[in-house]
């Protein structure tokens, strides 16, 4: 059983990591706790579902549709909410509350349009065959998710290190003023970050929708809670941390179900989070970020 549970943990961890990547980016750079990320993720899932069902697109095209839809959302979010609030030097709670409003709006919009029942992808498109290796079952889809999480992380890290835009982003996370003095258009970097995070959220949305084969308006909520936990464990704004945190949480949850009891699963996850925060607030894998003006 242990082997299978380890496989379960890795695939669950991959799922969490994928979601957390976008979430941590927004916090790290824009310094906003984006409570609408769950809703963005959900929109990605719906967009890809409709792309497959209504437009009859194959899966790779559907993921692009999902990212297009959520990328647009990311642009809208920054243009009409984050940017105006930045301009007015709003207290940092304000954008968070605004994202709550956005989440409510998006969720009820989808609920009103598509109903609150679970929808699913047609079984023909699901790469759901299970591989059986040495008594352990894993599906192709889970493997793809894990690979994608690593791949995306690698691309992001490369982008942040090697490209001009990436360096601007990292600079912004450290000090907006310094970066502005260097001639970087701070506003456009913020905008790009919001879009990027939303793109990641949308991709995560579709993949996780496939994984669970369930698309419903509130699917973002539990993911958001877990995403928050992952990002804390991994260190806010830390890309590698998001990945490591995701896997860590996946393991913590699966092993606590396997060896403690499934009803303690969430208690252990959040309890762990609480303790980590008290002992090591920068997360298990993060580094201390000094926030300057």
């Amino acid at each position: 059983m242990l082997a299978q549970q380890i496989v379960n943990a890795i695939s669950l961890g991959g799922v969490y990591a994928l979601f957390a990547l976008g979430f941590t980016l927004i916090f790290g750079v824009l310094n906003v706790v984006n409570l609408a990320h769950g809703a963005v993720f959900m929109i990605g899932a719906y967009a890809s579902l409709k792309a497959v069902v209504v437009l009859q697109l194959p899966l790779p095209a559907a993921i692009l549709v999902a990212m297009l839809a959520t990328g647009a959302l990311g642009w809208l979010l920054d243009k009409f909410i984050f940017a105006p609030l930045r301009a007015r030097h709003a207290p940092h709670l304000a954008p968070m509350i605004a994202t709550i409003g956005v989440a409510i709006t998006l969720t009820s919009l989808i609920e009103g349009t598509f109903g609150s029942e679970n929808l699913r992808f047609p079984s023909e498109v699901l790469p759901a065959e299970a591989l059986s290796m040495g008594g352990v079952q894993i599906t192709w889809l889970e493997l793809e998710i894990i690979c994608l999480a690593f791949a995306l992380m690698a691309i992001l890290l490369w982008g942040l290190r090697k490209t001009g835009a990436g360096r601007a982003l990292r600079g912004l996370a450290e000090s907006p003023k310094a970066v502005a003095l260097m001639g970087v258009n701070v506003e456009s970097v913020f905008r790009v970050t919001s879009i990027l995070a939303a793109l990641l959220g949308g991709a995560a949305g579709m993949l996780i929708a496939l994984y669970a084969n369930a698309v419903f308006p509130r699917m973002g909520q539990p993911m958001l809670h877990k995403g928050i936990a992952v990002v804390i464990l991994g260190g806010m704004g830390d890309i590698r941390g998001a990945l490591l945190g995701g896997f860590f949480l996946g393991f913590a949850e699966v092993l606590s179900v396997a060896y403690v009891g499934s009803n303690m699963r969430d208690a252990i996850a959040f309890g762990l989070l609480f303790i980590v925060l008290l002992i090591r607030p920068q997360g298990l894998f993060g580094h201390v970020v000094q926030r300057r003006a």
């Binding site: 943990a9 669950l12 679970n118 299970a130 669970a212 084969n213 539990p222 969430d266």
Partner: protein, 382 residues
């Protein structure tokens, strides 16, 4: 659409204020029309409207048409209380249906009881609801009555010796179902190999299922709603678990075929209503529902449909004087004796005891049909 309804409501409110009562019989319904529980509230509403359409189309009750005032309680208990109060005190309905969730009923039914208005649940199956008082009725058969039957027949037919149990521990419906399963398993002396839990909204059940597989059970007893239950079956099959699943009535929904597609076989469910039941009233209902909504009905719709007819029978027997208090009471007094054969089969009420031991509300008495899924159909097992 909304404006028309608001205007109509306003005119009727005015009419009732000026004492022009008796033009229509007004009953209320508090159901979850938005929010998570809307997936159950929506078929309930469709069931109501179908039945009302038929009754009013035939001339109504003793010449009077029935008007249904339906309000959204959002699946939240505070809203359920607010909506109940509005329907009772503002719209002055004769009786009301709902709310959708057992949780909400625990909070709102006491309001109806103290106002002496019949509260009729069509989807509340948890314990502790009808024991609130003698104005509380329901036609949704409780798990306590159905689960033992399901277990007995399933164990006979599959020859199972021991089971694993999986249930949602954060929802009153699934938890209540679990309590009833546990008791039935004890009565039937079936040992439990392991008990696992999950929470509403979870999408990953593999850790629990892996543990269940390792425990060598012969079947999995499941207390869940389709939203979680279907993915569970899919993941179980992916993990190589071919065991039968035995579910509570939350799993009695054609949606399980949509959601679990190729993994939906071998699920055992018990319920008074089955889409496969060939009885004449049921077939008529299914046909009419498909015609109106182009989809198959589910248990929620069937019970709502029958509920309207049950109340209609009572309405036929009483004399509506126009004095609200007296009418509400005579409706309550006429209900317990009603017997009706509708889409869910022969039905009658049974009074239960309240918390203080005195006679209280009324539960449903119906025979359970046990079914097993096979090739996207529920096959009735005898």
């Amino acid at each position: 659409m909304k404006l028309k309804q608001i205007l109509a409501g306003a005119i009727l409110a005015l009419a009732s204020l000026t004492g022009v009562a008796g033009a229509q019989i007004k009953i209320g319904a508090a159901e979850a029309l938005t929010g998570n529980a809307a997936q159950y509230g929506a078929p309930i509403r469709r069931g109501f409207e179908l039945a009302l359409g038929e009754i009013n189309g035939r001339g109504g009750i003793n010449g009077q048409k029935i008007e249904l005032v339906i309000e959204d309680e959002q699946g939240k208990k505070e809203e359920a209380i607010n909506v109940f109060k509005k329907l009772i005190f503002q719209d002055k309905v004769l009786m009301l249906f709902g709310p959708t969730l057992s949780n909400s009923a625990q909070a709102s039914d006491p309001v109806a009881q103290s106002a002496k208005v019949v509260a009729f649940g069509t989807s509340n199956t948890a314990d502790g609801i009808t024991s609130i008082g003698n104005y509380v009725f329901r036609n949704s058969v409780t798990e306590a009555d159905i689960l033992p039957v399901t277990l007995r027949i399933a164990s006979q037919k599959t020859g199972l010796k021991k089971v694993a149990v999986l249930y949602g521990n954060d929802d009153i419906f699934t938890k209540s179902g679990y309590d009833n399963f546990k008791k039935a398993l004890q009565d039937l002396k079936i040992p439990v190999t392991t008990t696992e839990t999950f929470a509403k909204g979870d999408v990953d059940f593999k850790p629990q299922l892996t543990k269940i597989k390792a425990s060598n059970a012969d079947a999995v007893v499941l207390s869940a709603l389709v939203a979680e239950g279907a993915p569970m079956m899919v993941q179980a099959r992916q993990l190589g678990i071919t065991l039968p699943f035995i579910g509570g009535n939350g799993m009695n929904s054609p949606r399980v075929f949509e959601l679990a597609k190729d993994s939906s076989d071998n699920l055992w469910v018990g319920s008074p209503w089955s889409v496969e039941n060939p009885a004449a009233e049921n077939k008529k209902f299914i046909l009419a529902y498909r015609k109106a909504h182009t989809m198959l009905p589910d248990q929620f719709a069937a019970q709502a449909y029958d509920a309207i007819y049950i109340v209609a029978q009572a309405l036929k027997k009483i004399k509506i004087t126009g004095k609200l208090e007296a009418d509400r009471k005579s409706l309550r007094d006429a209900l317990p004796a009603i017997q009706w054969t509708g889409a869910t089969g022969p039905f009658k009420f049974r009074q239960v005891a309240g918390r203080d031991g005195r006679p209280a509300g009324y539960d449903a008495v119906q025979t359970a049909i046990v079914m097993m899924t096979k090739s996207n159909r529920y096959v009735i097992q005898k």
